[in-house]
C-alpha cells in the first residue's frame, strides 16, 4: 500500500488554511481528544481547547500564504508529517509575519486527523 502523502499534504493544508482564514471556529473537526497543539509557549490537548485557543487569537482577518510545503510518512502506520513555512497576513497590515508549522496527521478510517500541531513564528516584525 502506498499512500500518496504529498497530495494528501496538499489537500490537507489547502483545506486547513482556507478553513482557518474563513472561519476558524470550524476547525474542531480536524482535531481529536488526544490531539495536541503547541503554540509558542502554550500546549493544549483536545479539540475543544485547541479550537478555543485558535479562536481567541487577537485578530479578525487573517490569511495564510504558503511558501514551502513538504511531507513525509512519519511511520509505517500510515501517518504523515507535513512541514510548512509561509506568511501570515494579519488584518490589513502590509508586512507579513513568517511562520513555520508542522502537522502530524494520523489516519482514521478513510481520512486523517491532526494528532500534533506545532506552530511558531520564525521571526516577527
Amino acid at each position: 500500500m502506498s499512500v500518496d502523502f504529498s497530495s494528501l499534504a496538499q489537500q490537507f493544508t489547502e483545506f486547513y488554511y482556507n478553513q482557518f482564514d474563513s472561519d476558524r471556529t470550524q476547525l474542531g473537526n480536524l482535531y481529536r481528544e488526544q490531539s495536541m497543539l503547541t503554540f509558542e509557549t502554550t500546549q493544549l490537548q483536545g479539540a475543544k481547547d485547541i479550537v478555543e485557543k485558535l479562536v481567541s487569537l487577537p485578530f479578525q482577518k487573517v490569511a495564510h500564504r504558503i511558501t514551502t510545503l513538504d511531507a513525509q510518512p512519519a511511520s509505517p502506520n500510515g501517518d504523515v508529517l507535513v512541514m510548512i513555512t509561509g506568511d501570515l497576513l494579519i488584518d490589513e497590515e502590509q508586512n507579513p509575519q513568517r511562520f513555520s508549522q508542522v502537522f502530524h496527521l494520523m489516519p482514521e478510517g478513510s481520512s486523517y486527523y491532526v494528532y500534533n500541531d506545532i506552530f511558531r513564528l520564525n521571526y516577527s516584525a
Binding site: 504558503i66 511558501t67 514551502t68 508529517l81 513555512t85 497590515e93 508586512n95 507579513p96 513568517r98 511558531r120
Partner: protein, 588 residues
C-alpha cells in the same frame, strides 16, 4: 485626547529665535546642592540682577545660559556663600573667552543638554541650525540641506550621553528639504516615540524613504507646514514608512489596540519547548552532536539513517519583509534548488517522489552536495530554537529546530564531475536542468528542521524522518525578550559521538512503556524559582548531567558548576579531586 508629547511648536521656534538674538554663552554652577535649582536662580537674580536662562541640572552642576558680559560678571561671583556652601561658577568650555579652544564635543554636548528636557524626555532640536552657540562657534552649516557633519557628530555625542532618555524629538523650523542631513537620528534614537518635523520644506515621499521602518516604535508624527502634507497619498505613505504610527498631525490614523495585538501575536515567543524535562536534555544533546557532525563530517552521521530513513529538503526562496531585522535580501539557493522538494511549487509527481531520499546512500548524495557549514549553537545559543515532543506510537520523539548557519565552503561532492560521467550516472537523476555550480556565492542561511527519532535496537537512536527547510538568513530564530539574564553557554563540551547522549541509559527506566530509555528517566534537580530563572537551558542541562554523574545535591551541584565556570569536564575533574573531602550532606 492626549496625543502629543510636544509643546507648542511655534513657541519652541520663538524661543530658539530669542536665544539667537541674545547670543548666549553657557555657564556651569556647582556648590548649590543644599538648596533647589529655583532657589539658586532666585538667589543669583537677587544678588546680581542676572537671570540664568534655560538652565538644566546635570548631576551636581547647573548649566545655564547668559550673555557673554553677564558670564564675566557671574564668574566673579564664584566663591559667594549660598545655602552653607560656596558657589563655584565657570564659563563652560568653549565659551567666548577662549575662542581658540576647539572642543567641538563639549559644544555639541552643551547644546544637546541645554535642549533636552528631562521631565518630558524631549530633545528640542528646533531651529537647530540657528542655534546661537553653534553659530558663534561656526558650527552651524549655512545650508542645512548640504552635507553637514555637525548633525551626525551631534548624534554621536547624544548616543554617548546615558543621562538622556529621549522619547520625543522636535526638528521643526530647520528648513529641511529632505532628511538626508539628519538621517542619523534614526540610528541614535531607534526607539523614538514622537517626532516633529513641522515647518520645514519637505515635499517628496522619496526624501523620507531613508527612514522607512527605521523608527519601529514611532507613534506620533507632526509634519504640518511641509508641502508633502497636501499630497493625496500623504497619509498612506506615512503609514507605510512608519509601521507603528498611530497619530499623524494630531489625527488618529491607526487603531492602536489592534496594532498592539497584531505585533504581540501570537503570544510571547519562546526559545525552547519540551514536552517534558527529560526530553530537554536528550534533545539538546542530540542536536548539539548532530550539528557538530553536520559541520565537520556529514558522512559520520550516516549511521543514524537506516535503509528506511527518509530525508527531504525544501527551499523557501521568498525574500523576507523589510521589517525583518538584518535579513538577507538577495539570497542565492543554487546549491539547494536541485534538491528542493517544495510540493507547493513542484508539480511533477515524479520529481516529488525522486526528491524524497530513502536510505543512507541516497541521503548522503544530498548531504554531500550541500555547502560545508558552520552552526553557532555553542557561541550563540540564543539564536537557536528547539521544540521536542513524544511520539508514543513508535516510542520515539519529534524534534523541530530553527536557526542559522554560515556556508563555509563548496560542497564535498563536486556535482560537475558527477554529471560528466555516463548519462546513466546517479548524478543525472537529481540534476534536472542543472549542469554545474561554478560560482554560487556562499552566504548565511536560516533553516527549520524536523526529525522523527526512534530508538534503535542498540539503545541509541535512528532518524526515521528528516525534513530540512532552507530560507534566507534573518536575524535569529528566536527574538530575545528585552532584558533576559545573559549567561554564557560555554559549558557543554560535547564529544562528536552520536551514541553518547542516549546510551547512558539508567537501567531502571527502560521498563516504562512508551518511553525511550534514558530520555525520561532522570529525576530533575529542583532549584528555587529565583535560581531557576537565572539559569539558561544549557546551564540547567549541565547541572542535570553533573547531578546524574556525581549524585551531589542541588546546592553542591550548583557550586561545582559555578566553580568550574560551567565547563563539564572541569567540573567532573574538580569533583574527582575533592569528592573525598565533601560532607555527607553534599550528596542526595
Amino acid at each position: 485626547m492626549q496625543v502629543s508629547g510636544f509643546g507648542n511648536v511655534n513657541q519652541i521656534g520663538a524661543l530658539a529665535q530669542q536665544n539667537q538674538l541674545d547670543n548666549l554663552v553657557s555657564v556651569s554652577i556647582r556648590g548649590w546642592t543644599n538648596a533647589t535649582q529655583q532657589d539658586l536662580l532666585n538667589f543669583i537674580s537677587r544678588k546680581t540682577r542676572i537671570s540664568v536662562r534655560n538652565s538644566v541640572v546635570q548631576g551636581d552642576t547647573i548649566v545655564g545660559y547668559v550673555t557673554p558680559q553677564e558670564a564675566d560678571q557671574l564668574v566673579k561671583f564664584s566663591g559667594y556663600r549660598f545655602a552653607g556652601n560656596s558657589l563655584k561658577i565657570h564659563k563652560a568650555a568653549g565659551g567666548n573667552t577662549n575662542p581658540n579652544t576647539n572642543d567641538t564635543i563639549t559644544v555639541l554636548r552643551n547644546v544637546l543638554l541645554r535642549r533636552y528636557n528631562v521631565q518630558t524626555r524631549m530633545l528640542d532640536l528646533g531651529n537647530l541650525f540657528n542655534d546661537p552657540e553653534l553659530v558663534q562657534r561656526g558650527m552651524a552649516p549655512k545650508n542645512v540641506n548640504t552635507q553637514s557633519k555637525m548633525f551626525p557628530a551631534m548624534m554621536k555625542v547624544a548616543s554617548k550621553e546615558p543621562s538622556m532618555v529621549v522619547e520625543s524629538i522636535n526638528l521643526s523650523d530647520n528648513n529641511l528639504r529632505d532628511v538626508n542631513g539628519v538621517t542619523t537620528l534614526a540610528q541614535t534614537f531607534p526607539h523614538l516615540k514622537n517626532l516633529c518635523i513641522a515647518n520645514n520644506s519637505i515635499s517628496r515621499f522619496h526624501s523620507l524613504e531613508v527612514w522607512k521602518n527605521k523608527f519601529k516604535e514611532l507613534r506620533e508624527l507632526l509634519m504640518m507646514n511641509n508641502p508633502i502634507t497636501s499630497d493625496r497619498l500623504y497619509r498612506t505613505e506615512m503609514l507605510r514608512i512608519f509601521p507603528k504610527l498611530v497619530i499623524l498631525d494630531n489625527v488618529v490614523v491607526r487603531d492602536e489596540q489592534k496594532l498592539l495585538s497584531i505585533y504581540s501575536l501570537p503570544v510571547q515567543q519562546t526559545q525552547f519547548f519540551f514536552e517534558d524535562n527529560g526530553l530537554a536534555s536528550s534533545s539538546t544533546d542530540f542536536i548539539t552532536n548532530f550539528l557538530n557532525l553536520w559541520d565537520s563530517n556529514r558522512m559520520q552521521l550516516m549511521g543514524l539513517y537506516t535503509p528506511q530513513s527518509q530525508f527531504s529538503l525544501s527551499v523557501d526562496s521568498s525574500v523576507p519583509a523589510a521589517t525583518v531585522p538584518n535579513a538577507q535580501t538577495t539570497p542565492t539557493f543554487g546549491h539547494y534548488l536541485p534538491f528542493s522538494r517544495n510540493i507547493s511549487k513542484i508539480s511533477s509527481d515524479k520529481t516529488i517522489q525522486e526528491r524524497l531520499r530513502i536510505g543512507p546512500e541516497a541521503i548522503y548524495e544530498v548531504f554531500g552536495s550541500l555547502p560545508m557549514t558552520k552552526h553557532f549553537l555553542q557561541e550563540q545559543p540564543d539564536a537557536y530554537s528547539v521544540q521536542a515532543w513524544t511520539f508514543p506510537q513508535v516510542q520515539g520523539f519529534v524534534i523541530t529546530l530553527h536557526g542559522h548557519f554560515d556556508e563555509t565552503a563548496k560542497p564535498e561532492i563536486d556535482k560537475s564531475k558527477t554529471s560528466q560521467g555516463s548519462s546513466a550516472s546517479r548524478g543525472r537523476r537529481y540534476n534536472h536542468g542543472f549542469t554545474s555550480t561554478p560560482n554560487i556565492k556562499l552566504s548565511q542561511k536560516s533553516f527549520d528542521r524536523t526529525m522523527v527519532l526512534v530508538p534503535s535496537p542498540n539503545g541509541s537512536v535512528i532518524i526515521a524522518s528528516d525534513s530540512l527547510t532552507i530560507r534566507p538568513f534573518c536575524d535569529s530564530a528566536w527574538s530575545k525578550p528585552p532584558s533576559p539574564p545573559h549567561l554564557q553557554a560555554q559549558s557543554v563540551q560535547h564529544q562528536p559521538q552520536m551514541n553518547v547522549p542516549l546510551s547512558q541509559t539508567p537501567p531502571n527506566t527502560s521498563s516504562i512503556p512508551g518511553q525511550i530509555p534514558g530520555v525520561l528517566g532522570s529525576t530533575p534537580l529542583q532549584f528555587s524559582p529565583e535560581v531557576q530563572a537565572k539559569l539558561s537551558p544549557v546551564q540547567l542541562e549541565l547541572l542535570q548531567k553533573l547531578h546524574l554523574e556525581t549524585k551531589l545535591n542541588a546546592e553542591y551541584t550548583y557550586m561545582l558548576a559555578e566553580q568550574s565556570l560551567w565547563n563539564y569536564d572541569n567540573a567532573i575533574q574538580g569533583f574527582r579531586n575533592s569528592a573525598n573531602n565533601l560532607p555527607r550532606e553534599a550528596f542526595i
